[in-house]
Symmetry: C2
Amino acid sequence: MFKDLDELKKKYTNIRRFNEDQFINLQPIQRGGVLTPEAQKALMEWGDGYSLCDNCLKGDISLIENPPVKDFMVDFRKFLRVDDVLFTESCRRSKQIAMAVLKEKFHDTNRNIILLDSNAHYSTFLAAEWNGLDVREVPKTGYPEFKVELEKYSEKIDEIEDETGDLPLAALLTHVDYAYGNYNDASIVSKICQKKGVPFILNGAYTVGTLNINTNEIGADFITGSGHKSMSSSGPMGILGFKKDYETIIKKRSNLKGDLTGKTFGIKMCYMLGCPGVYGAPLMTLMASFPSLVERTQPDKAKEEGEKAEYFIQKAEKVEGIKMLGTRPKIYPLINLETPGFKKISETHPRKGFFLREDFKKEGIIGMAPGISKKLEISTYGLTWEQVYYVTDTFLKIARKNGMKIEN
Amino acid sequence: MFKDLDELKKKYTNIRRFNEDQFINLQPIQRGGVLTPEAQKALMEWGDGYSLCDNCLKGDISLIENPPVKDFMVDFRKFLRVDDVLFTESCRRSKQIAMAVLKEKFHDTNRNIILLDSNAHYSTFLAAEWNGLDVREVPKTGYPEFKVELEKYSEKIDEIEDETGDLPLAALLTHVDYAYGNYNDASIVSKICQKKGVPFILNGAYTVGTLNINTNEIGADFITGSGHKSMSSSGPMGILGFKKDYETIIKKRSNLKGDLTGKTFGIKMCYMLGCPGVYGAPLMTLMASFPSLVERTQPDKAKEEGEKAEYFIQKAEKVEGIKMLGTRPKIYPLINLETPGFKKISETHPRKGFFLREDFKKEGIIGMAPGISKKLEISTYGLTWEQVYYVTDTFLKIARKNGMKIEN
């Protein structure tokens, strides 16, 4: 099959992540997921896929008392201030499951549209598509803010009802979006949804684990989060928080029976496919990072992340033509800058749009999208102030080096 | 929210896996998943959840050339000798997706039963249940072999057709089952399925990565495998191999469009929910272990694993009342022994059925089901001969210590 095993070994057994040891990685999807030292340790300890299963006494890993998974379920609910929580493989799985649960709840209606904010992530579309749902978008303002018009959830719900004769199956809001890092006040949408009788899903992919969230106060029916995006957990790891009202459906147990053996699996949850497979490194790293999450989501700490972003943005905007897209002030430090000056340089640069990424890499900074120079999408989440200063200075240095004017 | 952060830190940040450093773990679901040294290294290097995304140029991680993910897709196909392969979060997800794909293919029929062997895993039931399918079982022989009667797939297909007027949606065979470790000759079922026009799913949770498998020669439509169960990969990690015929459906791309933004995500695969989230530690550890998998699945090497199991079983059966359940000779070393003598001891033992697990633990061996003494389900997969001798000697020592008679 493979003639040369040495060749295979050379190819696959020693792949280093970076060529050098230390880079500052500004990729927006990664900053909130960077493992804490505690998670790094847990990763080494619990790396085998089924490592937690050694400790499973009842066929349901969430019942394990040592290590304290059972306690952790309680602590995590408390952290999110939500009635109940389940762990999944990812935020997109959580969305897929939330939608499937709602489909089951409303199976005797024709509610098959989901209302999304117009900054929704692709995985929200795919979760809807898997469930055979159609989507409608709530408008956003145009350049430069691209702000979702939250109040318009109301009229869009009415429009869908007028058009189809049915309410939408659900409304979903992206708490902080991937494109502009805009933070949305979820309680506005939640109130509209409650008034209209539409279940509300809050996609907290960036916010669960980075911002202080009180789900019950917001009033969301479901909240979804990502361990590897915003909870310093090794992936894939997701969470699905939900109101008690949905418990019966979401936790429904297997009901199939083997016709010959009579086998049933009454302890296994259907929507989780039993145990969802995160019960090794992903969950144990999440648990190890949990005290850090509690700490970093305290309002003062969380606020400082916005301030770091603001520091960088204000300096960056002194460069000619550079302008931040999205809403101010930054609550979450995912930053989108339009950089027409870099774009212009790329038109004659031998490395085209790649020069920008390459210039940063030379200075020890990575995470910029490849080949793109007309905008810069980065996140400063979790950087120390020293790193923020370094990133800012480097940005200005690269701008200067490439002949761009900088205001004093 | 949490008054005492130190308390939280104490609880979650330093959870050791075992109290001591070295145990031989015989838990059947874990032996094939134990990380290779190469995978351990990859785990530390690529532990952040989105670590591979740094290298993604085209929005589809399977296209990454450095590290060689794109090559790996080709090498893995070659390894499994299957037309095409996709990575998922687990074997159960692969089964769920295979069934969903078949439902889509046969959506204009009433084929809604899946035919399973009567040793099928619970996750096979749950995958069927998610898809709204009913199950029927192919019989097995009774005590002591519990051997699936493979030829009976034929008459069961006929029965289903007679009963419902439709063929089953698919037939599934568990290549090696979780209860007895019985190995089934998949080509027998495949031939029947081809003749009857029923798609065939081979569940290789234990076998992909431990046995030499030629999927195309077998003729399976789908083959599912588990990285953390049998491919020395950190979890969750699954594979789904399939015949070219299913490519159009299984790889269909997102087709939803935002009504206001016009957003579409034509590169993202619907059934994968885009990128399935294994593209950090799980995939990188699988790649790092891959040369080992190629090596260990060579027929001679794989055969030796059966021989190790046989060595243990033959010695163990010298203890009064102990008898192996399942078929001989062992092809895969998942072992089920009935141990009526231990059961009898447990009836008067202060630690009840737990004494057995505890006796083994004192000798540095773990992985026995808690509280169960009437049978012993273990796997010797991947143990060195020295470890096999030690496990065997310890087993005999514990039997002797507990007053059981041992033949010379």
